[in-house]
Each structure stands twice: as structure tokens, then as C-alpha cells.
Amino acid sequence: MDKKVLVSTLKKNAMLVVLVLVYLFFMVLTKGGIFRPTSFNALISQNAYVYILGCGMLMCMLTGGNIDLSCGAFVCLLGAVGGVLMVVQGWGTGVSLLLVLLIGIAYGCGLGALVAYVHVPPWIATLTGYLAFRGLGTSILRTNSPTGSIGPFPQSFLNVFSGKIFKTAEGVLNWPCLIAGIIAACLVVLLVFRTRAVRLKKGYEADSIGAAAAKSGIGAAVILLVMYKLSLAGGIPTVLLWVAGIVLIYSFITSKTTIGRHFYVVGGNIEAARLSGVNTKRIMFLAYLNMAILTSISAMTVVARFTAANADAGKNFEMDAISACVVGGVSASGGAGSILGMVIGATLIGVINLGMFQISLDANYQRVVKGFVLLAAVVFDILSKKKQS
């Protein structure tokens, strides 16, 4: 009986197990290099866009395996626009950010209308953006700068999206960071036990006390470890606040709200959803509007990280976001998937990228590995589901 529980738990958390194994694998190969505080910092700041775009892509994919191919090119265009506003024209950070966000919303509305109300297949509607936006962005950059790159961005902008909060020197314990970590860990423990108590009270099936303890213990330990390492690397990266905020908001939307449920329902069976009174068109519209808004935020974090807007910014971002979702168990045909899964998927891809970089694997083999990891993850997902049913 115990063995059965263990096997089913492992199966349920297969990607988590894979993540741990991959991490240990690279730990051995890099002789602990991937466990250094700077590696933790790099993992977060380099992959921030994957987490942010992953949230948006998840909402799109939930509605029936629909994707947004244009987000990478849109990141490039918005970066260029932001650069022109802030660096070339010298406008204020607040006004510029607002304008960039407005462009994002305008595109999202247009795209959403095309997909939801005209019924253009999403990947074709977004393929247009994929083709057009990088061209537009590049020509904006070229006409405004001889090098094709606009920068440096004003410090007031960089403060919002990059750098560290209460920065200290590397190797010195950063107390605000550690304290935030301890608070977060306590919250996780509290939340797990509160959920369990509520479920028990309502008479639902709930985790055993041991399982709850293990779950909260692992969660808290991971958070403490990450925050401890970050506190040694100079403090909380500003971008982590954005990532954490967005991930928490979408986690709440998908699991606790009616509108979140509707995304799953539409993806499960759109006809049934429509007949049950769900406004399916509005859900599709919202999915793409939301994606465009998150793309705007992501564009700003990317620009801030490089302190410049480049024509290459955002290349393959759509693939990274899709991969994170699919590896994280989001169904490619819609209706299933969770933010937590996406976060694990994004982290797994991030760890593989970082690990391959640190053992200085040839960039070409990196692509090969990335491709096969994606395929293996999906095959694994399909096979494990087949056995369950």
C-alpha cells in the first residue's frame, strides 16, 4: 500500500522529480557551480521573461491548445518603441510605460477580436505579428540609431525592472532578502495547512497530516534555500517581485475564480461550455488581450536587463514560453494545466540552459538537447496519462 502511494505520488509529480534529477546531474557536471549564489540570481533574472510569458501562454493554451506566436516579435517592437520614447525623445518613465502598455492593450484587443469574433485560427492571426513586428521593430531601431540599438535607458526606468532591492555586496548576508524568504516560507506552511483544514471541515478528501507536512516542508525549504542564496548574491532581484507577483495573481485566477474556471471549461469542450452559458468568445478575447499585456511587461524587463533595445530581443521567446507550458504538463489540446506546473517547466528549461552554458556545451548541441527535451517531456506526459486512464 505504501509503495503504491509512493509510486502514484512520484507519477503525479514526475516533472518535479525530473527537475531534481537534472539539477543534481548538472551539480555533478559543474562541480557545484550551479549551486553558487550567482547561479541562482542568473536563473531568475535570465528566465524572468519565461515565467511572465508562460503565465499568458498558459491562459491561451487552456482555451484549447491555442498559442501566441507573436509575443517574441512583439517584445522586440515594444522595446524599440520604449527606447524611442525614453531615450530618443527623453519622455518621462511613467508616461512612456503607460504608452507602451496602451500599445500592448491595443494589439491585444485587435488580436483578441480577430481570434474570438472573426474566428481566424490563433496561430495564423499571431503568425502575422510574428512576421510583421520584428520587421517593424528593426526598422524603428535603425531609423533612430545608427547602430540599430537604442540605449542606455534612464535609471528611473531601470530601477523599476532590474537591479536589486536593498542591494548589498556579494557574499554579505542581505537581511531584507532573508527575512522576506522566511516570511514567504511561513506563509506557504500556513496556506497548506489552512487549505487542509478547510477541506476537512467541508468534508472533502484532504491530504494526510504527513503529506501536508511534507508538501509544506519541501515548499518552505526550497523558498528558504533560494532566498538564502539570493541574499548572498546581493539581495532580491527587482524582477523577482514582478515574476512572483504575476505568478501569484495567475495562480489565484486559475484556481480560485470563476473566470479562471471558464478558461478550463472552454478548453475542455467549447461547445458544451457555450451551451452552459459561458461567454466563450469573451474568454478567447481575454486570453489574447491578457497575453499582450503580459508581453508588454515582459518586454520592459528584457529591455531593462540589457539596458538597451535590440533587434534580437525576444527571439524565440514564444518557443520558450510554449515549451515551459508543455514541459510543465499543460495539455497541448487545452483544458488542463496549472501555473505551478508551468513554473516547474520553466525552471527545468532554465536549469538545463544554465547548466549547458556552465559546462560550456557547444551552442549547437544546446539546441539539439532543447529540442529533444521538449519532445521527451510531451511523450512522457502522454504515456503517463495513457497508463492512468
Binding site: G65, I67, L114, V118, H119, V120, P121, W123, I124, A125, L127, T128, G129, Y130, L131, A132, R134, G135, L136, T138, S139, R142, M319, I322, S323, V326, A332, S333, D362, A363, N364, Y365, Q366, R367, V368, K370, G371, F372, L374, L375, V378, V379, I382, L383
Partner: protein
């Protein structure tokens, strides 16, 4: 209207009657893309002062877009199975071409290299098809992973550098360099000196028109026998127009350097795919699977094999496109083939293939590919910034699909 009442019909009635009789509305819907193509060609001819219609540019149009025709033919089968696509073709083109080029450089016989490239394409296609058909991995994901992996592999094979091809036989055969044209056998036969017009090209063009007309007549006779009513005038007009296009094309090519060898491969591929989609059981199965996969499976069709066939076929086409690309560029670079998948997909959709599968024709795809090619070339000659070229391409694709979606909705 009853037949007994004979009254002079008003002008408006006349028009409506005419429109109904000759199905004007249907005509426009059916041939929108042809009309669009004519308008676009006329537009660029006017803007460039007729430069786009020079024999050399007509020749370039075919040579530059050879890969689009070949890949789009393969892509059409995938799209037919239910709007599935193959994102990996660009990378597979590069990988197959890279291996072939390296083999040619090592002095291997050109036909062995060609076979190797085709085999690689077929093997990759079958590999991806395996996951898609047997395990129901979404086609999008399976080919996405191929897109990453084979781009990486081609870099590894080429060591990150450009490798050039010097095998003249290979270049002549697959459309690279200055002598990649079918020699003027007929002029040689009559003992004439080489020159313009190319008589072989004229003869082949004439033969093509004759064959086309004979086939149309045969089709009309069969339709009559089966009592399928088709407007005779409509058929005559289409036949006449297509014959005129062939004659025009022949004259243009004959006044350049003759038939480019690459055209043979394009015609071969298009002919085979036209045959597969219209005359064979597997062709019908492709449409059936795209129309309703479950119903098709329940009717006893092994739908898995249909998917496998579609993906193996596009793999093979990617191998062939790799050969053509390598020959045209007289070498290969690790970045070749990027974006090819988009060209192929766009051609199919502009040519009226349904993004939900089950609908699409080779003839439509050809028009889509030519339209994309004309737009590309016209903008190139006009000197439009390459960034804006992409924007225009994207908008053309979107408009084509929107038109498709909206016109189908009206029908319902």
C-alpha cells in the same frame, strides 16, 4: 418565374438572371486569389516599369521560389489532415543540404549524395510522423522540437561555416550556376547555332498545351457520360486562359535561356501531388481525416498511417528542397532554410487550404506560392526595405485567411 409568362424582363432582372446563370458570385469567390494575383502582377509591372515581366525575372521567379513549391506541396498534405503543420522543414532543409554538401565536398558521386539527402529528409519525416501518428503528440510540438534539433545538427555538420559546392553536374541538374538550363537539343538536332529563342523550350511548351487540352476534352467527355453538368463556356474559358499562361511563360523562358532544370523538379513534384490528392485512395483519406478524423477511423481507414504518410512525404520534400536550395546557392550556410516553413504554410493558406483541414488543392497552392513569389520579387526590385517586406508578407497572409474564414461563414 413560370415558363408560360413571357414578358420583357427589366434590366435588373436581366442582370440577376445573367449572374445566376453564369454563377458570377460563385466565380468571384472561387477565383478571388487568381484575380488578386493578376492585380498584384499588374501593380508591380506598372510600378517597376515592366521590369518584373522581363524574361530574366520570370526565370528568377521560378528559380528563387522552387523550394516554396516543393515544400508547400508537402505542407498541403499535412494541412489537409486537420490544419496540422510542420515547423521543422526549414531546419530539415538545412540539415539535409548540409550533409549532402559535405558529402559532395568529400568527392562522393552526386547521385549518392542526392539519395542521401532524400533519405535524410524521409527519415526525419518518418521519425516525426511516428510520434504524431502513433503517440498522438501534437504535430506542432513534435515538429517544433525537430526545428530546434536539426538546426543544431546542421550547425554541427557544417562546423558553423559556409561550405560551397563545386560539383558542376549537381549544380546543372538542380538549378545552380549559369548553365542550369535544359540544353537546346532541337537546335543541335537541326544543326543550328545556339541562340534565342530556345526551340526545345517552345516545343515543350507547345506539347504541354496540347496535352492539357486533350486532358480537358477527355474530362469533359467523362463528365458528360456521367451526366455531371458543367458550363461548357466556363470550361472553355479556363482552358483557354491556362493555355495562354503556359504559352506566355514558354515564350518568356524561350527568350531567356530555355527551361531551367529546376522547373523539371517543380513540375514533377506538383504533378505527383496533384495525382495523389485527386486520384488515389490515400489522397482521399487525407481529405477524410481532415474532415472528420473519428468518422474516418470508424469507416475503416487506418488514420495513423495517413498521418504517417503526410509527415513522411513532407520530410522527403524537405530533402528535395534542401537539394534545390544548396544547388541554387552553390553551397550551404547554417542559417539557410530559416523561415521556409512560413513560406510554405502561407502559400497553402493563400491558396485556399482550410486551416481546419480537409479542404485544399494543389492548384490553389500553386497560385498562393506564385502570389508570395511575385510579392517578394516585386518588393525586391522596388527596393522595399526587407523589414517592411516581412510586414507586407504577414498582412497578405492574414488577409487571405480572414477572407477564407469570412467567406465560409457566409456560406453557412
Amino acid at each position: 418565374m413560370s415558363e408560360n409568362v413571357k414578358k420583357a424582363p427589366s434590366f435588373k432582372q436581366n442582370v440577376t438572371e445573367f449572374m445566376q446563370k453564369y454563377k458570377v458570385g460563385e466565380f468571384f469567390q472561387k477565383y478571388t486569389m487568381v484575380l488578386a494575383l493578376v492585380i498584384v502582377i499588374a501593380f508591380f509591372a506598372l510600378r517597376t516599369g515592366g521590369k518584373t515581366l522581363l524574361p530574366a525575372n520570370i526565370n528568377n521567379l521560378i528559380a528563387q521560389n522552387a523550394y516554396v513549391f516543393v515544400l508547400a506541396a508537402g505542407m498541403l498534405l499535412c494541412i489537409l489532415t486537420g490544419g496540422n503543420i510542420d515547423l521543422s522543414v526549414g531546419s530539415v532543409v538545412c540539415f539535409a543540404a548540409a550533409v549532402g554538401t559535405v558529402l559532395l565536398k568529400a568527392g562522393v558521386n552526386m547521385w549518392i549524395a542526392v539519395l542521401a539527402m532524400l533519405a535524410i529528409g524521409l527519415a526525419v519525416g518518418a521519425f516525426q510522423g511516428f510520434w504524431i501518428a502513433k503517440l498522438h503528440v501534437p504535430a506542432f510540438i513534435a515538429t517544433l522540437s525537430g526545428m530546434y534539433a536539426f538546426r543544431g545538427f546542421s550547425n554541427v555538420v557544417l562546423g558553423g561555416y559556409q561550405v560551397s559546392i563545386t560539383n558542376q553536374g549537381f549544380l546543372d541538374m538542380f538549378g545552380g550556376g549559369a548553365s542550369c538550363y535544359v540544353p537546346d537539343y532541337l537546335r543541335q538536332l537541326f544543326g543550328l547555332e545556339n541562340g534565342k529563342p530556345n526551340i526545345t523550350c517552345l516545343a515543350v511548351g507547345g506539347l504541354a498545351v496540347v496535352i492539357y487540352i486533350i486532358m480537358t476534352l477527355r474530362k469533359v467527355r467523362i463528365q458528360k457520360k456521367l451526366q455531371i453538368h458543367q458550363s461548357i463556356i466556363g470550361t472553355a474559358i479556363t482552358t483557354l486562359l491556362i493555355s495562354a499562361v503556359i504559352v506566355w511563360l514558354t515564350l518568356k523562358l524561350a527568350n531567356h535561356r530555355g527551361i531551367p532544370t529546376v522547373m523539371i523538379w517543380i513540375c514533377l513534384v506538383l504533378g505527383i501531388y496533384q495525382y495523389i490528392t485527386t486520384r488515389t485512395a490515400i489522397g482521399r483519406h487525407l481529405y477524410a481525416v481532415g474532415g472528420n478524423e473519428k468518422a474516418t477511423a470508424l469507416s475503416g481507414v487506418k488514420t495513423r498511417n495517413v498521418f504517417w504518410f503526410a509527415y513522411a512525404s513532407i520530410g522527403l520534400m524537405a530533402g528535395l528542397a534542401g537539394i534545390l536550395t544548396a544547388a541554387r546557392a552553390r553551397g550551404i550556410d547554417p542559417t539557410y532554410g530559416e523561415g521556409y516553413e512560413m513560406d510554405a504554410i502561407a502559400s497553402c493558406f493563400i491558396g485556399g487550404a482550410s486551416a481546419y483541414g480537409g479542404i485544399g488543392k494543389v492548384s490553389g497552392m500553386i497560385i498562393g506560392a506564385v502570389l508570395m513569389g511575385v510579392i517578394n520579387q516585386g518588393m525586391g526590385i522596388l527596393g522595399v526595405d526587407s523589414n517592411y517586406q516581412k510586414v507586407v508578407k504577414g498582412i497578405v497572409l492574414l488577409v487571405a485567411v480572414m477572407f477564407d474564414v469570412l467567406s465560409k461563414r457566409q456560406k453557412r
